[in-house]
């Protein structure tokens, strides 16, 4: 229960930061994706289910205030959290390289999903323009922010949240 409350407030705080303060550190109008870092970190540190719920609520908040359709970002963030949850048992969460790589992959997935489902379907074909202009800069910036922010999420997880039973989420148990 305690970890759920902490998670709730972390999500709200990240959403607030993302929609207000992050814009002041934007480089070339590109902002890093703090919400995605949160989803990936929670997936990596607490498993698939936590990653999924974190992603879902981050996405719902984005949808409610800035989305054109309700449920789109919720789904994309949810899958990002869920997929990064697969690394939960394989890697230790105190190494910085794993979340960095994972964030890069998930940011690529997230941006391609947004492009594929919302821009390509409206006939915007210039994938490479978007790739150079938005996707790659955002990935680089997000990975850079991961280096700073992951430590904070790590401390939040270990100090304020209950430890998760590792076995229950493991994909190796049944094999």
């Amino acid at each position: 229960m305690k970890s759920k409350i902490v998670l709730f407030f972390t999500i709200i705080a990240c959403f607030l930061l993302q929609s207000t303060l992050i814009h002041t550190i934007a480089i070339g109008s590109i902002t890093p994706n703090l919400l995605l870092i949160l989803c990936v970190s929670m997936g990596l540190m607490r498993g698939r289910k936590s990653g999924m719920w974190t992603g879902f609520f981050c996405g719902v908040l984005t949808d409610l205030f800035f989305g054109s359709v309700l449920g789109f970002y919720a789904m994309v963030y949810m899958f990002a959290g869920f997929l990064s949850g697969y690394t939960y048992r394989i890697y230790y969460d105190d190494d910085l390289k794993v979340p960095m790589l994972l964030t890069a992959v998930m940011d690529l997935f997230y941006n391609l999903a947004v492009y594929g489902l919302q821009f390509l379907l409206r006939g915007r074909l210039g994938l490479f323009t978007y790739l150079y202009r938005i996707i790659i800069p955002e990935i680089v910036y997000t990975v850079f922010l991961t280096v700073i922010v992951y430590r904070i999420f790590y401390q939040i997880n270990h100090r304020f949240m209950n430890p998760v039973r590792k076995e229950s989420e493991s994909i190796w148990v049944l094999k």
Partner: protein
């Protein structure tokens, strides 16, 4: 006992997968519901707004307070140096003032010509401050600190000092979200000032860096529209009130069909550093109905 434990684990393991499938269905049905049947999520938005908006407002307030503080300090240092400069500037300004008075007379004449001045000041306006921006990089929407309590409704037009900024898409009691005209999904029906030819202004993410918008379907057979032409919102637009200034034509070319023209326009609004906007609290429908009554 061992069996039971295994069973328990098995259940939990399945659950996370099943949960994903269930939530995916939930999301997909929410998308379909909002897209197809227009189910409104306003009550949920209202509740979420009650939690989030006060914080956003205070963060925005603190941000502007810090900027003000920073400016005060900077000003103090520069004040002495500036004083000297200002003295010398007074002379040249006096001279410029004379020119400006002439310009003003010309401006008044031009405004009379376009009848823009009257229409702009005729619309009731509400000043608002931007408190949050779209978290992603793909779209260009933002949130303002006024809502239905201040008389803002969906489809209200938003302007900044120099021109059209966007349109209100969602409204809560103390907040509203605005989709700007440079957003990739934005379309505005517009017309040229000199010839009254209509065209469609589309936001384009590929042009956003240059501060430009794309226009298309301009029917201009006699080649009267040239670079520098003023573009305003058209009289046939359903959502935008007539005569709001959008920008100047910066490039124009004939389409392959030899009938219509496309090109780019430059907007005078600095979307990167937008802070304060005005919301016109009259919708196009009201304007039409009001005109019919009187």
């Amino acid at each position: 006992m061992k069996n039971l434990k295994k069973k328990f684990r098995f259940r939990i393991h399945l659950k996370s997968k099943h949960l994903l499938v269930i939530m995916t269905f939930f999301c997909v049905s929410a998308i379909i519901a909002t897209l197809a049947s227009g189910v409104s999520s306003t009550p949920v938005k209202e509740i979420a707004g009650m939690i989030v908006v006060p914080f956003e407002k205070s963060i925005a307030a603190i941000g502007s307070w810090l900027t003000d503080m920073n400016q005060t300090f900077r000003e103090k240092e520069e004040l002495i140096a500036q004083n000297k400069e200002l003295q010398s500037a007074v002379d040249s300004l006096t001279e410029q003032n004379n020119i400006l008075i002439q310009d003003q007379a010309e401006l008044a004449r031009l405004e009379e010509l376009y009848e823009l001045n009257e229409e702009y000041s005729d619309y009731p306006k509400v000043a608002a401050r931007i408190i949050a921006k779209d978290p992603g990089n793909w779209y260009d929407t933002f949130m303002i600190n006024r809502g239905s309590n201040d008389g803002i409704r969906v489809n209200n037009n938003v302007i900044a000092g120099k021109g059209l900024v966007g349109i209100v898409t969602e409204v809560g009691s103390t907040w509203a979200t605005v989709r700007s005209i440079i957003d990739d999904s934005s379309n505005v029906s517009a017309m040229t000032v000199s010839t009254d030819d209509t065209c469609v202004i589309e936001g384009d993410l590929e042009l956003i860096d240059e501060g430009k918008l794309r226009f298309s379907q301009l029917y201009d057979r006699e080649d009267k529209v040239s670079v520098g032409e003023r573009i305003v919102t058209s009289n046939i637009s359903e959502k935008y009130v007539e005569g709001l200034f959008i920008g100047y034509v910066s490039a124009i070319e004939l389409d392959t069909n030899n009938l219509t023209k496309t090109g780019t326009i430059v907007t005078p609004v600095d979307f990167q550093h937008l802070k304060d906007v005005f919301v016109i609290t009259v919708n196009k429908e009201d304007a039409i109905q009001g005109g019919a009554e009187s």
